[in-house]
Subunit: 245 residues, 2 copies
C-alpha cells in the first residue's frame, strides 16, 4: 500500500443500479488491474447514488485525498445522468456545451434526430478535456485529476488506454500467486512468519472451495520483482512441506 | 432514496483483493438485493484495504451515519485477516475469545490440529453476538448495528437469512422493469417527463448493446406498488409509441 498521495487513486462508481444490487460492478476490477500495471494503486472505491449533493461532496473529498479519481456512470442522455453537471458544480465550473463534443455528436447523429438528450451528452464542465469513444458516440472527459468515464464496461475498456499518456506512472506492481491445495487455516502460522520476513510485500490469502476439497490462493504483491520472486519461493517451499505431511 | 437514517445501510467491503482488481465483488449485489426485499436501502458501498486505521475510521463514520453497516471479508485465520480486531478497536471493546465460538471451532477441528490460526477465528469484540455458519466452521458476528460477515460469497448467502429476525424491516422496495428495444437517447425526453410526473419513483435507464442492436432497460423502484405499476404502464405506452415510429 502507498502512504503518500503519489501514485494513489480512488474509484467512484455512480449509479443506483449498483446500490440496488441489480448490476454487479465490473468496472472496478478492470480499472484497478489497468492502474496496477501503471504502478498506481487504488486506495478506495465508493459506490454512491445518482444524487447531486452526494456526488459533489464525495468527489470533493476524494480528489483532494488522492492523486487521481476515476468516476464511472451517469454521463448518458437520460434524466438520471447527472454526473457531468455534478462534477461541474464540484469544481465550481460552468456546465455548458463543449464545442468539440457537440460537433462529434452532431456528426454522429447526422442521419437521426439530434434531440435534447443527445445534445446533453456534449455538456461538460468548462475546461474539460475529451476522452474519445471510437465505437460509441459520446466522448467522456477529464478535468484536473478527475477522469469521468461511462458506466458501460465495454466503453470503459475502450477509453482507458487513451489515458496512459496523461497519467504519471509509478513502478509497476508485480503480482504473483501460488495455488495451495490446503486449507488456509493449516498454513496460517507459517504464512504469517513469511509475511514478517517480507514486510514490503503484501501477501494475501484467499481460500476457496471446489469439488474435491478446499484450497487457498496466495498472492504476493510489491514493486520489487526479485524480492517478490524470493518470497514466492519460500511460500512454495512452505506449501510443499505441508502437502507432504 | 431514503433521507432519514431509518431503514438505511452501508456495505463495507474489506479486502486488498478487490482493490487490486483480482476479485470482482459479488457480495454487494447479493446483500443489496436481500436488503431491498426487507425495505432497507443501501446508501453507499465502500471498498477499503486490510489496514487497521482505515477500517476503524471508516467503520466509525458509517455506523454513525446509517442504521446498519454490513462488512465483508477479513475474518479468516491468516495474518491479513484483521477485521475482527479492528472492529473491536472501533467500538473500544476488548478483543478476546468468544467462548461459544471457541467451543464451536474446538468441536469442528476435533480430529485435526486446532492451531493458532483456527483459534483466532473465535476472537471477537467483547459482547459480540454470533451469526452461525452451518456449512463452514467459523461463525461471523454482529455488535450493535454492525454485521461482520465473511468474504466468501457462499458463506454470506448462508448467513444472511439468519439476520431477518434481527433487522427492523421497512416497506419492501418494489422494483419492476421494461426492456425497450430502443436507444436510450431516443426516449430520454419522454422518460424525463414521466419521471417528473412520478417524483416518488426512482426511474433508472440502463442502455445495453447486443448482437442485433441497442436496447435500454428501464427500472422503476418505489415502495408504493400501485403507483409503480401505473408508472410502468406509462413507460410501456411510451415505448410502444417510439417503436411504432
Amino acid at each position: 500500500m502507498n502512504f503518500s498521495k503519489e501514485f494513489t487513486s480512488a474509484i467512484l462508481i455512480i449509479g443506483n443500479e449498483i446500490l440496488s444490487g441489480r448490476t454487479v460492478d465490473k468496472n472496478t476490477s478492470f480499472i484497478a488491474k489497468w492502474l496496477g500495471e501503471l504502478g498506481i494503486s487504488v486506495e478506495e472505491v465508493r459506490v454512491i447514488p445518482d444524487k447531486e449533493s452526494v456526488i459533489i461532496n464525495t468527489l470533493n473529498e476524494l480528489r483532494k485525498k488522492y492523486q487521481y479519481v476515476f468516476t464511472t456512470g451517469g454521463i448518458g442522455p437520460t434524466h438520471d445522468d447527472i454526473t457531468s453537471e455534478s462534477v461541474a458544480k464540484a469544481f465550481e465550473k460552468k456546465y455548458d456545451y463543449n464545442k468539440e463534443a457537440y460537433a462529434i455528436l452532431e456528426k454522429y447523429y447526422a442521419n437521426s434526430d439530434f434531440n435534447e438528450g443527445r445534445k446533453k451528452m456534449a455538456k461538460m464542465p468548462e475546461g474539460a478535456n475529451l476522452i474519445y469513444n471510437e465505437q460509441g458516440s459520446a466522448p467522456a472527459f477529464y478535468i484536473e485529476n478527475v477522469f469521468v468515464l461511462p458506466g458501460i464496461p465495454a466503453y470503459v475498456e475502450l477509453m482507458l488506454p487513451q489515458l496512459k499518456k496523461i497519467l504519471v506512472s509509478g513502478k509497476k506492481i508485480i503480482s504473483v500467486s501460488c495455488d495451495a491445495k490446503l486449507r488456509e487455516s493449516s498454513i496460517a502460522l507459517d504464512l504469517s512468519n513469511i509475511q514478517d520476513r517480507y514486510p514490503d510485500i503484501d501477501i494475501g490469502s484467499y481460500p476457496y472451495s471446489q469439488e474435491g476439497g478446499f484450497g487457498t490462493v496466495l498472492v504476493m504483491r510489491a514493486v520489487d520483482e526479485a524480492k517478490v520472486l524470493r518470497c514466492k519461493e519460500e511460500v512454495e517451499e512452505m506449501i510443499r512441506k505441508h502437502t507432504s505431511n
